[in-house]
């Protein structure tokens, strides 16, 4: 089980793996472009993280995903402990407690929690054969997802919490939602939303939502990022201002340009042409991931492929909509392209799981 078969290597989806690496390298280019004048050699660090993530992905491939699924209970326990510890021990960075330091590295446990949730949900629904979701099963799944979700909200890291909702929602859609259930869930979400708005959301978070509706209302505060990002993208035009020539990004008008706003740099420096190419590559990547569900040998495999793909798709969509002002600024990175080790690692491992399911489609290996 632990050994990888020669026959299996032939089953690896090399095209998908190639697309992932290609996207990551595109990211390195623009990280370099937006940070080369700063100390810290971000592009080199990102390259190292790509190497680390690739190794992690290959390790994930070596083990049958069913083994991971069977261990998901333990992973879940570990994750909850780690998230709780993060809350207690993490230093406050930019008002949130989401980073823990492991030796030289800094990790964001909430990023890795996404992977664990994929496995946990695969396990929860592996035996679920009814055409539609029962109330009992819904509540059970919500309870399981709720504990880590609350711990992440407490950090507070609303961006990651939202991606959790994507995983939960994806699993529910797959299990089958009746109209009544949809109505109930929407009502519950509304109730939590309104309640959260009045009780839990910090002022700055509320501002981000109101800014979406009217960015000009607060051009120096939370609207600043969106306005500057939109100026960057719009001024890129058809062919862009050229590599390392973006005035918005080079003159530091664009905040967080190597992390959450990397796509704005691409938009400014390579124009619509670059945007089109990157989005096209992303479309190919997502199609390759999603359509792999046909190759899954069992229900757990389908859930893994689907939730992992949805996780990447959700972050991608939210990010490219956020930086152009169609979604509130929630701190969601662009998978593979944004600078950041934890996010890169999580995205690679998620794809590793998809590749894993796909290469073991012929069952009993």
């Amino acid at each position: 089980m632990m050994m990888i078969d020669r026959r299996l290597i032939g089953e690896v989806d090399w095209i998908l793996l190639g697309l992932i690496l290609l996207q990551s390298l595109v990211g390195v280019f623009f990280i370099y472009s937006s940070t080369n004048f700063l100390p810290g050699a971000y592009h080199v660090r990102q390259l190292i993280w790509i190497g680390v993530s690739l190794v992690a992905l290959l390790l994930v491939l070596a083990v049958d995903y069913k083994f991971f699924v069977s261990l998901s209970g333990y992973f879940y326990g570990l994750m909850v402990i780690l998230l709780a510890m993060t809350l207690v021990f993490a230093r406050l960075v930019a008002g949130t407690k989401s980073w823990i330091t492991l030796g030289l590295m800094q990790l964001q446990p909430s990023e890795l929690a996404k992977i664990v949730m994929i496995l946990v949900f695969a396990r929860l629904f592996a035996e679920y054969k009814s055409a539609y979701l029962t109330t009992q099963h819904t509540l059970g799944a919500l309870l399981v997802a709720g504990v880590p979700l609350l711990l992440i909200i407490a950090q507070p890291d609303l961006g990651t919490a939202m991606t959790f909702l994507a995983i939960i929602g994806g699993a529910f859609i797959l299990a089958g939602l009746r109209k009544k259930a949809i109505v109930l869930l929407v009502l519950a979400a509304l109730a939590i939303g309104v309640g959260g708005w009045t009780i839990a959301l910090k002022d700055y978070q509320k501002k981000r939502v109101t800014t979406l509706i009217n960015p000009a209302g607060d051009p120096r505060g939370s609207g600043y990022q969106v306005i500057q990002s939109k100026i960057a993208i719009g001024s890129g035009g058809f062919a862009g201002k050229g590599f390392q020539k973006g005035t918005q990004s080079q003159l530091r008008f664009l905040p967080a340009r190597h992390t959450d706003f990397i796509f704005s740099v691409i938009g400014e420096e390579t124009g619509f042409l670059g945007v089109f190419v990157v989005i096209l590559l992303y479309f190919a990547l997502l199609a390759r991931m999603f359509l792999s569900v046909a190759k899954a040998r069992d229900r757990a495999g389908v859930y893994i492929i689907f939730t992992a793909s949805l996780l990447i798709a959700f972050q991608f969509l939210v990010n490219i909509l956020m930086i152009i002002g169609l979604f509130p600024v929630v701190g969601i990175t662009l998978p593979f392209l944004s600078y950041g080790g934890s996010s890169l690692l999580a995205s690679f491992v998620a794809c590793g799981l998809v590749l894993n399911v796909k290469m073991r489609r012929f069952a009993n290996v």
């Binding site: 004048f37 100390p39 406050l92 960075v93 930019a94 008002g95 054969k129 055409a131 994806g170 859609i173 797959l174 299990a175 089958g176 051009p219 120096r220 939109k230 100026i231 960057a232 993208i233 719009g234 001024s235 890129g236 035009g237 058809f238 005035t247 003159l251 530091r252 008008f253 938009g267 124009g271 619509f272 945007v275 089109f276 989005i279 992303y282 479309f283 997502l286 199609a287 999603f290 359509l291 046909a294 899954a296 040998r297 069992d298 229900r299 757990a300 389908v302 492929i305 689907f306 793909s309 949805l310 798709a313 991608f316 969509l317 490219i320 909509l321 152009i324 169609l326 069952a363 009993n364």
Partner: protein
């Protein structure tokens, strides 16, 4: 999982997954169309915005609140000044730019470079302050060369100014620039790099009140960083809150004058409230001399001065209390029931204790002494005998009840606790047993005993108030805490002293000043002062006696601590003069100057109310 799963019908879930994918695909297409709209259709608009409309935020620093004395006199003010900042992004040629800047501002290149390095993590468009505290004449040549040097920004800035020069310097403290590291270490505090923050004293203790809220102005700049006007969305700075101190400027000035040329401390308190009326620590310094962000030579000289003028000796100087400690012995003796006011001890000038001969400071001997005689004459033999009876732990308890060995809680950072030795303390820290002979040294305030002048002042205030203890504080006005007597922490068998016991000790203190005792130098007509002197050896008793025999003068630290009047006390004065000689001859006259001034002040106030 059983192997037959491979034959499971997964078509339903797979169909649903495919549906979701196509929804995602549709959204990607919509997103792409929006990018088309922004990048192609609206390109001109955004290009214009990128070229011309660059706005930047500039901070308008809030003036700090004023610090006033109890009568409203200004101790810390603000004055207009200019600062010059460098915007690295606008530097065209580093070498020639730096040379020109150094010439204009009269600074040397290494200083400039060091300054830039300190703030290298700031964004290149963020200004780095390279000179401050400038007058209009200093910045005129820079203003006139604005076009040649777009990298320089001249801004006005309110600067701290202490009109009294060194007056109450140790109370007020001083400001220093917040370094980038300090800002990072406390991300929650709304302090920006380059801001001047209180580092010691009241400036630090009440920094949050004094600092106010910075304003903001948004400037439209072009690609060269030239300002093309401000947007209306500005936020005006809000000056920090003024604070009133309990300090009396006249008393403070008198206290500082009386210490001029000497090293020492004067603390004056209002015993009924704990208000600090004067706190002088000498030598002192003029905080105006180094109020800039740049470390001039004077600052370095102050830091390395062996007389440590920056130290606030009143709360950080540790001294042996000497004969002042006889007040603690007296209270403890009465409180523990070892003596009564009428217990007498015969002083023949020397005594044999634990196999060693100990001398009284008055070689012929004082004769038969009761408690108030012993305090009046500061008789060592009496207190040697009392110390032997009490034992070190009872002494330590009495000292603790009077607030020694712990902070007084005055609102200044860095206060020291001092030390009251005990058997347990010695076993724990020095790992050696307590020797009875050490008790005898402690009985006259020597040995390992260490106190701060503030502790002695607070203790004297507690005696003056017959046991009521008010936390000494500097903050007055609206922020002043209500005067509530503090409960001393219970220690051992003595829980608190009775008013009668205080009266017994006060009787001795009154006689010391008014009936020709050691404190007679502190006598003030019609002000009924009570006090106790002290002279503490700054070396071991043996070497001091040896030097004395050799005819060499041994200067001791001199203490006086007292209050006036005896009934309804109004003021406590504690004086310590380092190497001042006898407490009666050096420290007591300093106290007289303050008693006198305060008496006159009270008289004029009385006059005014009539």
């Amino acid at each position: 999982m059983p192997e037959n799963r491979i034959y499971e019908d997964l078509s339903l879930v797979q169909r649903r997954a495919n549906t979701v994918f196509w929804i995602v695909a549709a959204m990607i297409f919509l997103a792409l169309s929006y990018y088309w709209k922004v990048q192609i259709l609206e390109h001109k608009k955004y290009q214009g915005l990128a070229e011309a409309n660059r706005t930047r935020m500039r901070v308008l620093p809030a003036p700090r609140g004023l610090i006033r004395d109890r009568k409203g006199g200004i101790l810390a003010d603000n004055r207009a000044s200019f600062k010059v900042s460098l915007v690295r992004e606008n530097v065209k040629d580093e070498a020639s730019s730096h040379a020109a800047i150094c010439r204009l501002l009269g600074i040397d290149e290494p200083t400039l470079r060091g300054r830039i390095d300190l703030h290298k993590d700031l964004q290149p468009f963020e200004p780095i302050i390279i000179a401050d505290g400038l007058g209009p004449d200093d910045v005129a040549p820079i203003e006139s060369r604005r076009l040649e040097l777009p990298e320089l920004v001249v801004e006005s800035e309110p600067q701290r100014f202490y009109p009294g020069r060194g007056l109450a310097a140790h109370v007020l403290g001083y400001l220093q620039e917040q370094t980038p590291e300090e800002v990072l270490a406390r991300p929650n505090r709304k302090v920006r790099p380059g801001e001047m923050v209180g580092k010691t004293g009241v400036e630090r203790e009440y920094n949050d009140v004094l600092r106010g809220d910075d304003g903001k102005v948004y400037e439209v700049v072009d690609s060269l960083g030239r300002v093309h006007g401000t947007t209306p969305a500005t936020q005006n700075p809000i000056q920090g809150g003024d604070i009133f101190l309990t300090i009396d400027r006249d008393l403070q000035a008198e206290a500082e004058r009386s210490l001029e040329g000497r090293e020492g401390v004067v603390v004056a308190l209002d015993p009924g409230t704990g208000r600090v009326l004067a706190l002088a620590s000498s030598p002192t310094y003029d905080p105006n001399r180094f109020i800039t962000r740049f470390t001039p030579k004077e600052w370095i000289a102050l830091m390395s001065d062996p007389d440590s003028p920056l130290e606030n000796r009143a709360i950080r100087g540790l001294y042996a209390p000497g004969s002042i400690f006889k007040l603690v012995m007296s209270m403890g003796g009465l409180g523990s029931g070892m003596i009564t006011e009428s217990t007498t001890v015969y002083c023949s000038g020397s005594i044999q204790i634990y196999g060693a001969t100990r001398h009284c400071w008055f070689a012929p001997g004082h004769g038969a002494m009761d408690l108030s005689d012993a305090i009046k004459n500061s008789c060592n033999i009496y207190f040697y005998t009392l110390g032997r009876r009490m034992g070190i732990d009872t002494i330590a308890q009495a000292a603790s009840l009077l607030g020694l060995g712990r902070k007084t809680g005055v609102d200044l950072v860095g206060e020291k606790e001092g030390l009251v030795p005990s058997e347990g303390w010695k076993r724990k820290t020095l790992k050696t047993p307590w020797y009875p002979g050490e008790t005898i040294s402690v009985a006259i305030g020597q040995g390992q005993l260490q106190v701060t002048p503030m502790q002695i002042a607070a203790m004297t205030a507690m005696i003056a108030e017959r046991g009521k203890r008010f936390r000494p504080h500097l903050i007055g006005g609206a922020l002043e805490p209500p005067a509530v007597a503090e409960e001393p922490p219970a220690s051992g068998t003595m829980s608190r002293f009775t008013p009668a016991e205080y009266e017994g000790v006060i009787a001795g203190m009154w006689r010391s000043v008014n009936e020709g005792g050691t404190g007679q130098g502190a006598k003030v007509a019609d002000f009924d002062a009570c006090g106790k002197t002290g002279s503490t050896q700054t070396m071991s008793r043996e070497s001091a006696e040896r030097l004395k025999r050799a005819g060499r003068e041994v200067k001791t630290h001199s203490w006086f601590s007292g209050f006036a009047p005896r009934v309804n006390p109004k003021i406590v004065v504690t004086v310590l003069v380092e190497f001042g000689g006898g407490g009666g001859t050096t420290a007591a006259p300093v106290a007289v100057r303050l008693f006198d001034l305060y008496k006159k002040d009270l008289a004029t106030k009385l006059e005014a109310t009539k």
